[in-house]
């Protein structure tokens, strides 16, 4: 197992290179000149050239990339073009907020998803099952920003139970986390249901019943643990799309997280900021995937053999 983790860690290195390259190249291709933006409107050609010189933007692209990568591996993500502050500091300030949001969202995804999936699977094709699955279908179909606005209108504006926006207290977490988590929960619910149904039809469930085990033992000890194996993979994938979703949700709810930071940076062509933000987000995703793989192997020892 340790060897497996070590191997996966080594495999991450080329992934990081790839991410830096892709981020770097895309920003090169985007129209708009950062030097001109920084110099402000109506700045003279010389001022713009001066900015370009200072930022090293006049050097060859390959050289710019090399120095960028070497800096990255030393923990230096460059300085923001806008306020000249180190990008890393800004990210370290914002990352915890996004991670907190992501954590509660994934929690909602897992808890809501599993519960709905199990409720459905225990009595398949019942009214309960059908209604849960209809709701799940809705959850998948609704775009998160729209759902966010809907929830905001209902709970904040109409009922006035929850704050509209911001990130000041625990109550603030509820709406954005719900907005982000519900789509994933719907997918997890559908996966859990089909996986449970498959497992409940297996011979070993018949064996468990033949032993005289109580039905809830049969479901939770014998069926669920096997049914979870494919669900783990789905949750891992959900985490990826959830990170993408933070960009929208943070904007809708005015949360100063990493997602919103990247959006703002794109708007102002703050190249180092965008690069740094995307890089960190990618790293988080890669590590979460590693975690999922490790978990998957821990639950399902059989794949060691193949």
């Amino acid at each position: 197992m340790l060897l497996f983790i070590a191997k996966r860690l080594v495999q991450i290195i080329p992934v990081i290179f790839g991410v830096t390259l892709v981020v770097f190249l895309i920003m090169q291709m985007v129209p708009g000149d950062p030097a001109a933006i920084l110099a402000g409107e109506g700045a003279s050609q010389e001022t713009i050239e001066q900015y370009r010189e200072d930022l090293g933007l006049n050097r060859p692209v390959a050289e710019q990339y090399m120095s960028y990568v070497s800096n990255v591996f030393q923990g230096d993500l460059g300085n923001s073009l806008k306020n000249k502050q180190p990008v890393l500091d800004e990210i370290l300030l914002r990352l915890p907020i996004t991670m907190e949001l992501a954590f509660y969202s994934i929690l909602i995804t897992i808890v809501l998803g599993l519960a709905a999936g199990i409720i459905s699977a225990v009595k398949p094709y019942s009214i309960r099952d059908v209604s849960v699955m209809v709701v799940a279908l809705l959850g998948i179909s609704l775009p998160s920003f729209w759902l966010g606005l809907l929830l905001m209108y209902l709970f904040s504006v109409k009922l006035q139970w929850l704050p509209v926006a911001g990130w000041d207290g625990p109550l603030n977490i509820i709406l954005p986390a719900l907005t982000l988590g519900v789509g994933g929960a719907a997918i997890v619910a559908r996966m859990t249901r089909s996986s449970m149904l498959d497992v409940i039809g297996q011979d070993y469930i018949r064996t468990a019943r033949a032993k005289g085990l109580k039905e809830h033992f049969v479901i939770y000890k014998h069926a669920l643990r096997n049914a979870l194996i494919p669900v783990i993979t789905v949750v891992g994938l959900q985490f990826g799309s959830l990170l993408g979703g933070t960009v929208l949700v943070e904007s809708v709810f005015a949360i100063n997280g990493l997602g919103r930071m990247i959006v703002d940076a794109i708007r102002t062509r703050d190249l180092p900021m965008v690069q740094g933000g995307v890089l960190v987000a990618s790293l988080v995703f890669v590590f979460v995937n590693l975690l999922v793989d490790v978990l998957y192997r821990a639950v399902n020892k059989r794949i060691d053999l193949n």
Partner: protein
Amino acid sequence: MNKEVVLQVKNLKTHFTTSKGTAKAVDGVDFTLHKGETLGIVGESGCGKSITSLSLLRLIPTPPGKIVEGEILLNNKDIVKMKEEELRKVRGNQISMIFQEPMTSLNPIIPVGEQIAETIRLHQRLPRKPAWQKAVDLLEMVGLPSPEKRAKQEPFQLSGGMRQRVMIAMALACTPEVLIADEPTTALDVTIQAQILELMKDLQKQIGMSIIFITHDLGVVSEVCDQVAVMYAGQIVEHRNAKDLFKTPLHPYTQGLLSSLPNIHENQQELQTIEGSVPSPYDYPVGCRFADRCPHAREICRAEAPDLLETNNAETKVRCFMHTEKWEVIEEKEELVCP
């Protein structure tokens, strides 16, 4: 015979309702199981033998299946009428089961020792530690090498033969009165099958339980069973002492079955076959269900359904007009209507 009766099945009917209609998978099965006896239930695929065995513990998935009629009396208590709670106390405790595929019948992610120990904790109310120890002892009893180590392993780490030993250990954990073995050696190689059959015979002597042995393999039946019930199209057609049945089969179906077996001890020119095919469980004929394939069938066989009746020997039951008193008359009066 004045042996103690353990299990008595009366007119058991298990039907399946599907979009195609009602499949009468088990359609009026009667038998009696005595203490310490091994009863073989044999027949070809689709005859209802496995459904019969699953019905005994009410393990038929409902829907689509349902026990629509009959009684299953365990020490004079009817399993069919039991409440869930009561039924659970029978399962794995008084009656336990082993299945054909030891790989798929064991939970793939739970250590085998735990799968045994949980049954012990459940039925014998033992705490964790002693239950585990008992599981290890059971694994030793069924001849698993290094049981301490094996108990902690998951099924995929064991060979097919070892897995079936685990299944047996699990089934015997609470010293049941009846063990139902549904094709327990069919998925195993012959040398491993021989090991498992030997083990089951030994354990039966030690524990004194009764066994219902479901199989399609007549050779296995003759090795391990005292009594044999031959099933055809959802019913028992012949029920007798194993030795007699193999020596002088009475029902034409049993005769056909035995003569279509290739013999390992001598060379034969051509194998006997049974012409035609099994009738559909959705639509059985009015008369004898074997009549369409039977070389002795007369008109009455098509018109009337024979009952499972005792012959002049009280321990022999057969479902065929040939073995009733009126046959002599029928034989003279009616023409053969064989295929």
